[in-house]
């Protein structure tokens, strides 16, 4: 089973993230979605509940918009309180060992803007090292993140354009999840 940790402060008004989640729901994949802002509007995340949920799954997908070159705050809070010593790391902290860690996120702007001489100066993958090392430290399998550009109205893209790139994103994500299930990834 695949767990979707959804972190979007205004999910109901979102275009890209909502489309991606809807496409996941329409697929035949066995998924469980946890909408963090809906569950924890005051950010008081129940660590034990979340840990119990994690134990039921082999794959965890983190679905969110890229905010300030990073994850939204509530997802960081989720890591801060759920990935505890003796659970996610430390001498007895091997409860997540072998589970797949897959970040799936939407980037507002264009790919070209994420290059050295353009306005975001860095490639998106350069901002993903904290994710990668978080997975390693919890002995999880870091799966290459899936991310899609051009998902923000503020950056000048239309609703249709955004829904279309979000659908392409969903296809990639769903195929990756099917592949991982089929081949029992990791081997």
């Amino acid at each position: 089973m695949t767990l979707i940790i959804l972190a979007h402060p205004t999910f109901d008004e979102s275009l890209a993230n909502k489309t991606i989640v809807e496409e996941l729901q329409k697929s035949n994949l066995a998924i469980e979605i946890r909408n963090l802002h809906e569950l924890y509007p005051d950010f008081q995340i129940a660590s034990q509940t979340e840990q119990e949920v994690l134990l039921r799954h082999n794959t965890v997908v983190f679905q969110y918009p890229f905010y300030w070159y990073n994850m939204p705050a509530i997802l960081k809070q989720w890591f801060d309180v759920v990935f505890e010593q003796h659970f996610a790391f430390g001498s007895k902290g091997d409860k997540l060992k072998g589970k797949n860690f897959l970040a799936s996120f939407t980037v507002g702007g264009k790919e070209k803007d994420y290059t050295t001489l353009e306005k975001h100066h860095f490639h998106v993958y350069e901002f993903c090292k904290n994710l990668e090392q978080t997975a390693y430290f919890a002995q999880m399998n870091f799966v290459e993140p899936i991310y899609t550009y051009r998902t923000s109205l503020a950056d000048g893209f239309t609703k249709d354009e955004i829904r279309n790139v979000a659908k392409e994103h969903s296809k990639k994500l769903i195929n990756r999840l099917i592949e991982m299930n089929l081949y029992n990834y990791p081997q």
Copy 2:
């Protein structure tokens, strides 16, 4: 004047961050400290209040412990709600232009562990690109972060050792701030 944005979920029990803040308070620097967890225990950060505070200062220091190779969640929430379009970025969003952006944080483990073949695999500066680009996008001056290793009891360091490295950290931070004031940095 220097603004200290303090982000520590258990500041009163902290050793390193508490020592650093106490040393800053003992210095002759004109500082204003905002303890985010004390001000906003439910993470509902008042963006307008925080924006007004920012306008009073030339330098912003972000003081926090390094959690999961990143800032604590409440500081991310602060960026997510305070660095709004038309304030921090966008065609009219130049309110932070020219202000200094200085991250000051404590790292639990040893420097050696933050190398490719050791348990944290990356150098700390590799995890700082989101900070750097956040500063650039808000037209702020990104000052090289100040960070100190060996600040966690869980990593086997003693209270005295931690207080000592925190005092060294404070000296560096205070000197950097004095220098910046003296030379009216940036020129």
